[in-house]
């Protein structure tokens, strides 16, 4: 479905993407997890034809991606990191423009718009101006817009950034639903639980390179199942254990008390890269 081979993108001497290779299977929900500036957005922009690559190749559904490849663009739906709706226009008008840009006929367009707005639970806000919508509503409109032309692959660049936890879960449910209808989903995030909850497979990315790719479960199990957080030199140093018993045995030998918790993806990321994923992983 998505085949990335040796992809690089240099901005002068800065290697935003550095020799990245990746295969995403059809129908998979794949997550890119990495800190700010890791190269997540740049990779998505190259896959969707928005940015020229320096080297390497990308193909979607067997179609080679390039800045001029119209056929590849029809395969992709893109929900970019920044809100990019026309604020002065209504929800319906924004979607209409998208449908026209993708050469959808009038009747098909109207039908799909109504269907998708109901799907993202925005059917009653059709005539609202974008500037009067909340952040979560705008995200949902953007998702509906990206799905309008029935793309094979949906790219979501940090789809829940800046949203409150309840709305975030609502968007997660929506993304799951989209995958279940057969769309391949590629998303980037620096929210640990987002990747953990949603993704079939996760790639850890840092400094433009993929550190490892696996299912969230395998990534977590690679370091252990249980963890305790210890303070060493003013810094949090988690320690991992294969079993609960092993952890408890360790705690028994210590004078301080610890809280035992399950290992999460953050731990896996931390132990593989030596750094935390996001500034806010609440």
């Amino acid at each position: 479905m998505i085949k990335i081979e040796n992809l690089s993108k240099y901005y002068k001497s800065l290697k935003a993407v550095d020799g990245l290779s990746l295969h995403v299977k059809p129908g998979e929900l794949f997550a890119f997890l990495g800190p700010n500036g890791a190269g997540k957005t740049t990779t998505i922009r190259i896959m969707t034809g928005l940015t020229r690559r320096t080297a390497g190749s990308v193909s979607l559904n067997g179609i080679e991606v390039g800045p001029k490849s119209v056929a590849a663009r029809k395969q992709c739906g893109l929900v970019p990191q920044a809100i990019n709706l026309d604020r002065e226009l209504s929800v319906y008008e924004n979607l209409t423009i998208h449908g026209r840009l993708f050469r959808m006929g009038r009747i098909e367009r109207k039908q799909r718009i109504d269907e998708l707005l109901d799907y993202v639970e925005m059917g009653d806000r059709k005539e609202s101006l974008i500037k009067n919508l909340s952040g979560g509503m705008k995200r949902r409109v953007m998702i509906a817009r990206a799905l309008l032309h029935s793309p094979a692959i949906l790219f979501l660049d940090e789809p829940t950034v800046g949203l409150d936890p309840a709305i975030r879960r609502k968007i997660w449910a929506l993304i799951k639903k989209i995958q279940q209808r057969g769309t391949t989903v590629f998303l980037t995030t620096h929210y640990i639980e987002e990747a953990e909850f949603l993704a079939d497979r996760v790639a850890f990315i840092d400094k433009g390179k993929i550190i490892t790719v696996d299912t969230p479960r395998n990534l977590m199990e690679s370091i252990g199942s249980w963890a305790i957080d210890r303070f060493v030199d003013d810094d949090m140093k988690p320690q991992y254990f294969a079993s609960r018993k092993e952890a408890n045995d360790f705690i028994a030998t210590q004078s301080e008390s610890f809280t035992l918790r399950r290992v999460n993806l953050e731990d896996a990321f931390l132990s593989l890269t030596g750094k935390k994923v996001g500034k806010d992983h609440s």
């Binding site: 020229r52 001029k68 119209v70 029809k74 970019p80 990019n84 226009l89 840009l101």
Partner: protein
Amino acid sequence: MIHGMLAVYSREMMILRRRLTRQIPSWSVSPLLYLVAFGYAMGRHVAVDGHTYMEFLIPGLVAMASMVQAYGISSEINIARFYWHIFEEIQAAPVSDTAYVAGEVLAGMTRAFLAVCIILVFGFLFGVKQSYPPLFFVAILMNSFVFASLAVAMAMLVKSHADQSLVSNFVITPMAFLGGTFFPLHSLPVWAQKTLYFLPLTHASKAIRAASYGQTPAAVSFAVLAGVGLTFFSMAVFFVSKAKD
């Protein structure tokens, strides 16, 4: 190509329709001021080439407004690109760079044409005698094509809003005053006339004025506008493709 162009154009028209009640007054103010100040108050006793100053001024204002309004899309595109990120939505769609430029240019020409209509209404209300042969409108459309194309090229080239006003202040505004809009160029020294002859607006105002006097405009004016317009248009397409860094 046609589909993409119309999609881009229809977006601009949706926005224009929502803004129209604010746009029309703003398009009216400056021509009205020029007409009252220069045409009515000062120019009543002045004759230029056997025409009243009002008759001379209106085609000049038409040329100027079609340039300024067509060029006006530049800052709109720039804001949509860097501030609202709308450009990405279009770039991610199966629309060629040429279709994108054509759609935006057509939108600029539409704006220019509406602004011109307002001036013509004022001319009529002031009781100015004019004729409107087809070539009058051809010249207006070609002039707005030139500056709408320049606008798209500049919107791609310029990185910020501050640079944007630099271009307007050093290119568009001087041209608005010197391109044969407010005074006949033959009252200037020969070297100045020769220099101004290279400005597209000079040819636009000459052609528009000649047509409004009921004369046949010079073919060379149309040739210059077409040449400059196609050059700017190609530049715009090139810069759009460059925008994918």
